[in-house]
């Protein structure tokens, strides 16, 4: 079996010498044959050219395959020249530089480079590089370009589209189509979906969003950049927009609404379900970068004299509508926060024990105006999945979850990648 490691860009290996068993040069790597297979087509042979002589080398007899050495387990005198069959799919000839279009046929960009990687032990075509970095690599300027741009404080990002988002390969394609349509979209993870949505043009975006069910749309919308979110909401009918916002956790809905013009946001809030609207309204009043702005108003709270058995039953009923169920907050008769129980401890407790017997006190809390860095510090120091936000009377208003904290700690890493260019 051939040895290959990590990810390789096609432009890094095309035209590299290919050596035989004794280290003699067979010729140069001209192209790579792949076999049609979903979702990632596997490499099946190498096309090696020495002058006008062409060898087609089956992948099984390749020994080393990386950006420094390509060698085969055969002697030069033992291989015979061959021709590429017309049904073969060649990576460089058939895929590189091809146009990528979206489902409606609008042109997006061209394939600047292709990435090969390990899929279940087989070297396969994993992604198309559509970014500036891929272009510079093809032109032979990758490292120089990177240095130059770093002088301006700009980091050259990889911009890849996973091959599974592109249509199955065929020989002699004239263009590649993004497969963001129908059922495939529904099966996608919302974060992946968001990635695709950032790639397609405005018009198709709205169409694509219209085709999603409210729940998927709500999840995908949250993953997008604020400007894109606002554009999409703007283009959508108000009924659909308010339905989607209702479906989102209140803090995320508030984020989206916060980026819309005031009048439009208020109009959408009016159309939302009353309870949801109140939650969102409250969140909108907090500063974006404080605990109040980050928090969600959906959390689980239970009275201190409830039994574990009853709590587990109530939890089952309430859980579908609540984002974070890992902590149960215990409140006294005056609704003041008195303790907390983790989901694990609840399950491990005996059924007839009371909440106040197993809860932990005192609770680490945050005031609504706590800065986001303080929020992050608290959550990270105690390894919390969420932290409660309480006012001066210990009345609980919401929780800040760890993913909200990650979102502001790593906004560039997770979102820049999705930016169109």
């Amino acid at each position: 079996m051939p040895f290959f490691a990590g990810e390789i860009f096609v432009s890094e290996i095309i035209n590299k010498p290919v050596l035989d068993q004794t280290g003699e040069e067979l010729g140069r790597l001209r192209d790579i044959v792949i076999s049609a297979g979903e979702p990632f087509p596997a490499v099946s042979a190498l096309v090696v050219a020495a002058g006008r002589t062409v060898y087609v080398i089956p992948w099984d007899i390749v020994n080393l395959f990386n950006r420094r050495v390509i060698s085969v387990n055969i002697l030069k005198k033992n291989i015979t020249p061959a021709v590429v069959s017309p049904n073969d799919i060649l990576i460089s000839r058939d895929m590189l530089d091809k146009q990528i279009v979206d489902i409606d046929g609008a042109k997006l960009v061209r394939v600047n480079d292709l990435e090969l990687g390990d899929v279940k032990g087989k070297l396969s075509l994993v992604a198309a590089d559509i970014g500036l970095r891929g272009l510079l690599r093809r032109l032979g300027f990758e490292s120089r370009g990177e240095k130059l741009l770093s002088l301006f404080g700009y980091k050259l990002q990889h911009k890849l589209i996973g091959w599974h988002y592109l249509q199955p390969v065929e020989p002699r394609l004239s263009k590649l189509t993004l497969t963001v349509s129908g059922q495939k979209v529904a099966q996608m993870h919302p974060a992946d979906l968001a990635e695709i949505i950032s790639e397609v043009s405005q018009k198709e975006r709205t169409a694509l969003f219209g085709s999603l069910d409210v729940e998927t749309a709500a999840e995908a919308l949250h993953e997008l950049e604020p400007q894109v979110q606002a554009d999409i909401i703007d283009d959508m009918s108000k009924e659909k927009a308010s339905d989607i916002l209702e479906q989102m956790p209140p803090d995320e809905a508030a984020d989206v609404l916060g980026d819309l013009p005031e009048a439009k946001a208020q109009e959408l809030i009016q159309m939302m379900d009353k309870d949801e609207a109140e939650d969102v309204q409250e969140l909108l009043e907090h500063e974006d970068n404080t605990a109040g702005g980050l928090m969600t108003t959906e959390f689980l709270s239970f009275p201190e004299d409830m039994t574990v058995e009853d709590a587990i039953r109530d939890l089952r009923l309430a859980a579908p509508d609540v984002e974070s169920i890992y902590y149960l907050y215990i409140v006294d008769a005056e609704e003041r926060l008195v303790g907390v129980i983790s989901l694990k401890n609840l399950i491990l407790a005996r059924p007839h024990e009371k909440m106040h017997e197993i809860m932990k006190t005192p609770v680490k809390t945050l005031p609504p105006d706590a800065k986001q860095t303080d929020v992050a510090e608290l959550i990270s120091k105690y390894n919390f999945l969420a932290a409660p936000v309480v006012d001066e009377n210990m009345i609980m208003h919401g929780i800040v979850t760890v993913d909200d904290v990650l979102d502001f700690l790593l906004p560039t890493a997770s979102r820049k990648k999705r930016r169109r260019r």
Binding site: I100, L108, R110, L139, R172
Partner: protein, 407 residues
């Protein structure tokens, strides 16, 4: 197919060929023909016949590739010859077309000054008009406006008639090649022929045929469009040379620019001829100031795979619209900045233009002979001979023209 149906198809297809060919008579073209007439009378007229043939041969191939493949020239080059060659070609062509756009705005400014309009008024206004046209218009509408603009070129016909040329001498010189072993004459001849074919034309005609959606079944009509356009263009060039030859040459006035020719016509052929010349120059300059950036935006977007088209909006094709906007803005600014080195910019863009022509034409010939692209629409054996010979001669003439720029 009935005759009426054929005429209907012809009328719907016509446009790209006529428009592209007419832009060949841009500010620089009119200057060259005016100078040719003023310096050498009718003795360069014969050159228009081979120029027309060369123009038809090359333009027809681009139009054919557009109709058959449905792709622009830059698209085909990128898909068949890779990103490296495409990138450098685009980069150099961008520079030369930017320089040429500035030259068109300079022509527009000069002709407006003849009507007493200051360039700080005319240039921004002209830039705004061509910008709005493409950004707000759809392909169908913009093409119709362009075709009307092409009709304005006909003003050179009455201008030539007012110059009262000796028509029998004109006819004789047109069909009887003459040659003068005189350095200036040869340089002029090379200039006239060497600037006939520019790389942007090949890209523009193919892209506009693609955007118009002309199919290979309708291609016969496009061929008529191309041939008619090339004849019309050189017909106009003919009248420019005749007008200048009958007046300036006889009077011994040696002009070195289109606006100087227009001014000098007034005492010789009357104020009307002078005004017509100025209108022709203004029209041609502004027309080309729109088409050149348009061609550039087309080929760069095709090469990169971005959405492109006059009918698209800023939202649908942002790169296309921005490229067009930036080219027009910079082109206009170069003319407006006091002491901008316009002459050097034009010189550099002419040199790069000449250097880029051979690769573009040769790649075109390779592409049009590819079976997987063109199938039965490839060049025939005979046509290939004509095409290679034409391309060879054009490359040689252009190369010589570039060399004369250094003398």
């Amino acid at each position: 197919m009935t005759r009426w149906r054929k005429i209907l198809i012809l009328l719907s297809v016509i446009g790209p060929g006529i428009i592209t060919a007419n832009v060949d008579n841009d500010a620089g073209g009119i200057a060259t023909y005016s100078m040719a007439g003023a310096h050498f009378g009718y003795t360069l007229l014969w050159a228009l016949i081979p120029i027309t043939i060369a123009l038809i041969v090359v333009q027809e191939m681009s139009a054919r590739m557009g109709a058959v493949t449905g792709k622009g020239l830059a698209e085909l080059i990128r898909e068949n010859y890779g990103v490296k060659i495409t990138f450098w070609l685009m980069l150099f062509l961008f520079v030369t077309d930017l320089g040429n756009t500035a030259a068109e705005f300079a022509g527009w400014a000069a002709s407006n000054e003849m009507f007493g309009v200051n360039k700080y008024v005319s240039v921004p206004l002209g830039a705004l008009i061509v910008w709005l046209l493409v950004v707000k218009g759809s392909y169908r509408v913009v093409e119709k406006i362009f075709l009307v603009i092409c009709l304005v070129y006909l003003v050179y016909i009455p201008a030539a008639i007012m110059a009262k040329p000796d028509w029998s001498d004109v006819a004789l010189q047109t069909f009887k090649p003459s040659f003068h072993f005189n350095t200036i004459y040869i340089v002029m001849l090379i200039g006239v022929i060497g600037t006939t074919i520019a790389p942007w034309m090949q890209f523009y005609i193919q892209s506009s045929i693609v955007e118009k959606g002309i199919k290979k079944e309708e291609y016969w009509a496009s061929r008529i469009d191309v041939i008619f356009g090339c004849f019309m263009t050189d017909f106009i060039a003919f009248f420019i040379i005749v007008a200048c030859g009958a007046t300036l040459f006889k009077a011994g006035i040696r002009v070195d620019s289109a606006e100087a020719a227009a001014k000098s016509l007034a005492p010789l052929a009357g104020g009307h001829a002078s005004v017509l010349f100025a209108i022709g120059l203004a029209n041609a300059s502004l027309f080309s100031a729109s088409i050149l950036p348009l061609a550039t935006a087309y080929y760069i977007c095709e090469g990169m795979g971005w959405e492109a088209g006059i009918s698209k909006t800023f939202k649908e094709a942002p790169q296309f619209m921005w490229l067009y906007t930036i080219l027009i803005a910079i082109g206009a600014l170069i003319v407006l900045i006091p002491n901008a080195p316009l002459i050097s910019i034009m010189w550099i863009s002419q040199v790069i233009n000449g250097m880029m022509l051979p690769p573009v034409l040769i790649l075109m010939l390779f592409l049009i002979n590819k079976e997987e692209l063109m199938a039965q629409y490839r060049n025939s054996r005979t046509f290939n001979w004509i095409a290679w010979a034409t391309v060879g001669i054009m490359i040689a003439m252009t190369a010589t023209f570039v060399v004369t720029l250094f003398i």
